[in-house]
Symmetry: D2
Subunit: 378 residues, 4 copies
């Protein structure tokens, strides 16, 4: 067994999800490389110690620069707010560490390009946590498309709908709410939610050529948790955009945190000449599939319960009919990353691939401001 000594920076929601993945992968997957929870890093010593104890980290650090200096760390996992991704990633690359970075890659394209340059120059394995690719039903969608079952693609549509920021007295900034502060998050739903939709979309359907977007900030001012002042809200609360893919298909994307009744409803649907596919995160173990080749009187959308041993990743878990949950997508990403180390191959989505998503996000935000169609430079 080869060990991969991991140092995780940040101990919030993603810190937990990643830690669980590292701890669990070896129980279910047979891969020579196995992660070791070497160090947890966070600014608040008490908190990071509690976190380390809960998850079994061997040590703690309160300064990420210290963590990078340690020889016993092979890989850095960046789970911080978005505004730290760039600086840490570049330093980690220089320190020769592998990097697993939370999404979105960066605050903007300029940062992303520096990060890509840094990891490529350093030659370190790198990956971004666009975890939804590895929900088995989503991976299966990719397989079906690659097998040619859909034929020519006409339409792509995706949504990511939430409703947790409707209350006007919800503050912005700080623990748990940094996603509402543009200085920490870079953008609102575009970078947080649409970035997921875009990552999946370009993986499944190829490049996006151009976009036309509409953005809105419904609540213009919110109390800021750090400053204690009412401050202008700089993020986009909602964003919808039209897009044209390089393959000629048309797309509609939409995200909001004001869709009453939806908690984390990420959906996509793809309509092809021969077949169509639909999926949503609220019932993530089901793939909807319509095949025009079925006997014509028996055509109908199939609800495929993606829990059989022949479905992606599912031979590793339980028995048919028994579903897995959200966090398993992170386990799968770690498994694939470890497998990539075994084989000496990069594993998607790399920083470079995630940069494409960043570029589309930036084009979307620009179009939202200008009202014009914006070409995506790739």
């Amino acid at each position: 067994m080869k060990t991969l000594n991991v140092g995780v920076i940040g101990y919030g929601f993603m810190g937990r999800a990643h830690s669980n993945a590292y701890r669990t992968v070896g129980n279910f997957f047979d891969i020579a490389h196995q992660p070791v929870l070497k160090a947890a890093c966070g600014r608040n010593e008490e908190n990071v110690k509690a976190f380390a104890e809960k998850w079994g980290y061997e040590s703690v650090e309160t300064d990420w620069r210290k963590l990078l200096e340690r020889d016993d760390i092979d890989a850095i996992d960046i789970c911080t707010q978005n505004n730290f991704h760039c600086e840490i990633a570049i330093a980690a690359a220089k320190a020769g560490k592998m990097i697993l970075c939370e999404k979105p890659l960066a605050m903007n394209v300029a940062e992303g390009e520096q990060m890509v340059a840094a990891v490529e120059e350093a030659g370190v394995p790198n990956i971004v946590w666009y975890n939804y690719r590895r929900v088995p039903a989503v991976t299966m969608a990719k397989q079906l498309i690659d097998e040619g079952r859909l034929g020519k693609i006409y339409h792509y549509r995706a949504q990511f709908l939430q409703d947790w920021t409707i209350a006007e007295d919800l503050p912005q900034g700080g623990a748990g709410l940094w996603r509402l502060d543009v200085n920490e998050a870079g953008s609102g739903v575009t970078g947080d939610l649409l970035a997921h939709c875009i990552d999946t979309a370009i993986w499944l359907n190829g490049s996006i050529d151009k976009v036309s977007a509409m953005t809105e900030t419904f609540v213009k001012e919110r109390m800021h948790n750090i400053s204690g002042q009412v401050e202008k809200v700089g993020i986009d609360d909602a964003c919808a955009f039209l897009a044209r893919f390089a393959n000629g298909s048309l797309a509609v994307f939409e995200s909001t945190r004001y869709a009453r009744g939806h908690k984390a409803l990420y959906t996509f649907e793809i309509n092809g000449e021969h077949a169509s596919i639909a999926w949503d995160l609220h019932d993530l173990h089901r793939l909807s599939y319509f095949d025009h080749k079925d006997d014509s009187n028996l055509r109908g959308w199939r609800s495929i319960h993606v829990t059989d041993g022949e479905h992606p990743y599912m031979d590793k878990w339980w028995v048919p009919g028994l579903q897995i949950g959200y966090e398993h997508s992170f386990v799968h990403q770690v498994a694939d990353f470890l497998q990539g180390l075994e084989e000496g191959k990069p594993v998607s989505p790399t920083f470079r691939e995630a940069l494409e998503t960043q570029k589309i996000c930036e084009a979307v935000l620009e179009s939202g401001k200008s009202g014009a169609w914006v070409n995506v430079e790739c």
Copy 2:
């Protein structure tokens, strides 16, 4: 065009549903025989006149015996409470009239046998309004089974769930509530609801050999609308039974009027060696279908929207995707009955076929009392 002069006895819920079917069939189906609404018959003259005017009946009668004497009536449609079916049907047969009788055929097997004898002796066309056979999705289920797509059948299950009699202060008897009075209805959910389930079941899956039932009357006494007295409730409020079909398959049937949240939820599911089928009345235009012959990783229940021109009866209505409603099943039954007249053939379910359902109902009620398995004599 050959006319079929119809006299309808009863002007309640079923009087309306049948009248609509006679009035509508010619607009959508191309059949030489066409019904003419010749006479409506009911005991209350004012009411029957209002009904006749609303639906375009040419005349009214207040005594069904008078109706049977008329030479201008070809067919009698019996929409009365169950306790009148037998007497009217036998008299109508003797008068040489065709008969379309509401379900269940009779109050009990003894009555049903007399009715069958009468129509067969008279040689008059006869049919019972088990209308759900002719919901397109149900007819399609029959086609799929007849094509052998399901293979050997292992399981049949059916339910008919309602919730309209939970309130204890709901009275029994009289207009709209005769179904709660055992003297008018013969039985409760068994004859009213399970009879539908049984008719469909033996049509789709063949004879039932034996049954073991459980019945219950949750509300023991109710005010009677006619007598004005609190009277014992004689009907079964709920009934569930196990059954064995002649083909070796096992079945579970259940019906109740105490299933909070269900208005008219008639469901059935059939599990075969190769495929399974499920349907329910609340979304009656959909057929669920699972085919084991699909590529194994793509197997899933298909939701077939039964609205295409190649689906049963649907070439007569609108365009794909546009659904029809409950009452269309009656239109289909009239269309098939008229087509039978054209071809000189009996149309299912005849009185004799409906007698089999009556026998199963009686066996169920008997088993509910005795607690023992009861063989169905056919």
Copy 3:
């Protein structure tokens, strides 16, 4: 009973749907005014005679100008291809006839404005067949919004997805296929399908201020049925647009005839501060409803089976749990129109109201060409 003598021009899909509505309304609704099928009009004498016989029209005409000259006709129903709407409607208005016109109102805004001027000058009752407003679940959505149950609206989204024109060898033009010929239809999915979505949207959510659209014609040339030549396809096969409503809500609309697996999937969803609503045409008797005021641990989308007597229009039909179909929306429109005659009030959507939809469609098509946001002039 007061009669409304109707003359119908056109005997295709809509001719049948409207005829059925006129024939049926009196059986289920109690309104003093009752339609009489006075005359059917069409260019092909043989066809129009067969149609008249099937539906019970008293007479036929082969020249619509003749029909307008008849004194025994109160109302003209225009079921022709779109390119005849304007000329017939203006002439009918001048002849003092009431007008019931198929949607979309006209080929373009210029025509629509002339039509509105004509009916308003003549002072004749007028209505456009945007029938989906009167699907009970849709009418109920309107009630819930008017009751303030949703509160401030944040999002509106609607789709109309079909898949019947994917085959490249499908011709354009002529009977059944005039919707593919821009000269007969005016536009493609925008006027045919999105017009429905827009009509419902502005009824439910108020005016649209501006739009940004993307249109596409996937199959560029098709054989034309009339000319026998391969001709350029002038319609939009697909159209998606972003919109801003006057009330501050954001919207996404999409329509296509290339969405494999969907026959007539008209959907809409509205997200408000307090509650959300969703509906689709494939299961048109269900309304999805999410209410934030529910106990917080018990919140969930409710699937309301819109078949109870207290639901809009449903007291007129059957009993709870038994659904109605597509064509009933037309019956409801006739019922409301007749009720309007009783009360001497205009009934929505009038020509003037339908002109607003036409203006939005035209703005959408213009934006689809220019790529810029287009303001809707109202």
Copy 4:
């Protein structure tokens, strides 16, 4: 932190599920007691060593008697075939070990009674792995019932449908197939699947008084993996039964391994006077709920996505909208068991409680043979 040193006997499907629970509970739950994976025990040394290494067990044993003798083991987890439960449990109780036993408790009631006597005499904490009680949606059903939201219960129905034994050439006996061998399993679907349904039912709805069952073995003979001979199949392939609860409600239960299209479809529905509840294992994170107290026109089945922090156990996992999987139910059971140790209280279902399920199973099997109603002795 207090440790609970666990020795697990058996390393199959359940050995994995339990191991995962022990390893994971401390990362998500704050309980002073924490499990330590002290020893894994199995007859095949090579296999048990591989298992121990994969899951981090500190040691292995190949003789369960040796395991019981060890002083460093606090609790024994029995994951063997059913025919070993009794002997091991009695010995473990005598050795003063806590016991966590896989379901069903025993091969039959006689064994079960000895086991209950043993643990009660020894005074050791004991529990049976009826894990589905602790799926959050199921736990929530219990809460809603206990809060009185359903009122008087009229109906209970449950199914457990699978399709994995339809092929006649599937052998019986040995690794992975011992569930088909009556000598190892005790019974077929009754003990394996209906036992789950019964455990949940009596937890939610109280005692069952009597049952009437029908059982069937569709494939009469199968090759036996151990003997290499074709042997008679002694298990029940399918079983359905009617039941009456002590609270007056009626029930229907059904299980089979011949329901094509269903992998592990455990469903239940409860109809009460005021509200109804439904759940199924294929979408285990959703609870369907119908409340008669809703505004009458807005009543509908709610699909509650049981992923909010206020839902049972869900504050321990991710954020609203992100679902957990099958194995989490085991984690919850361990958490509750540890909490019981903290508080010195027994945790359901104890051996005694599981004995009630065993008695009902035995009554069901007896009724299946005799055809008569059988009273449950409790």
